[in-house]
Symmetry: C2
Subunit: 116 residues, 2 copies
């Protein structure tokens, strides 16, 4: 989804919890930083996540900041609460199975693209 990043209220500073979108289904993705092979993303989930399997070329570290969620990583289910984080090396098949409605799930995802 093509959305502007969170507003920057002060020079060089923005807030991760401001201007949170409220998707009705799936997730909203906002890129907070793109620097060389690093991309930092905020993800806000609806209570009806898209159970798409991801098989990515990039390594991903993901932190759940609010809410609770169920991830499937390969054959394993991970129950995540606020503050939980996990690492998904490139080509680790994973998908989001369930996400809480209140509070909504807010994630920080760090993507490390493959070397050129």
């Amino acid at each position: 989804m093509d959305r502007p990043p969170p507003a920057t209220a002060r020079r060089g500073v923005a807030n991760l919890f401001e201007a949170l979108p409220s998707p009705e289904t799936g997730e909203c993705f906002d890129q907070l930083l793109h620097c060389r092979n690093l991309r930092v993303e905020r993800i806000v989930s609806s209570a009806q996540p898209e159970p798409t399997w991801y098989d990515q070329t990039q390594d991903e570290w993901v932190l759940l900041l609010c809410g609770h969620a169920t991830l499937q990583v390969g054959d394993e289910r991970l129950e995540l609460g606020a503050g939980d984080y996990t690492f998904l090396p490139a080509h680790t098949r994973h998908r989001v199975i369930a996400t809480s409605a209140q509070p909504p799930c807010v994630w920080l995802a760090i993507h490390l693209d493959p070397a050129d």
Copy 2:
């Protein structure tokens, strides 16, 4: 400070807010991930930060998760609250001037090392 990383309670999942240290002065640094040129760190500040100037070779993206803090970036002071983030390109001189006692400041720092 050489400390073990936060305990991993479940396979592949750990919690950023578990086993928080309580430094009396300065900061405690815990590396959560090191993958290629990426390092993800949790920083917990005491209420008496070390006002050391940092002039780093790596790019850094930093997010304050709890507490409030004052950073000096070059000649500018940034007042940060929970959820605030900023980007510090390599060789951006910065230091921590003040950090709250309660709640203590918990930061997530993403370091992107220079290319080889």
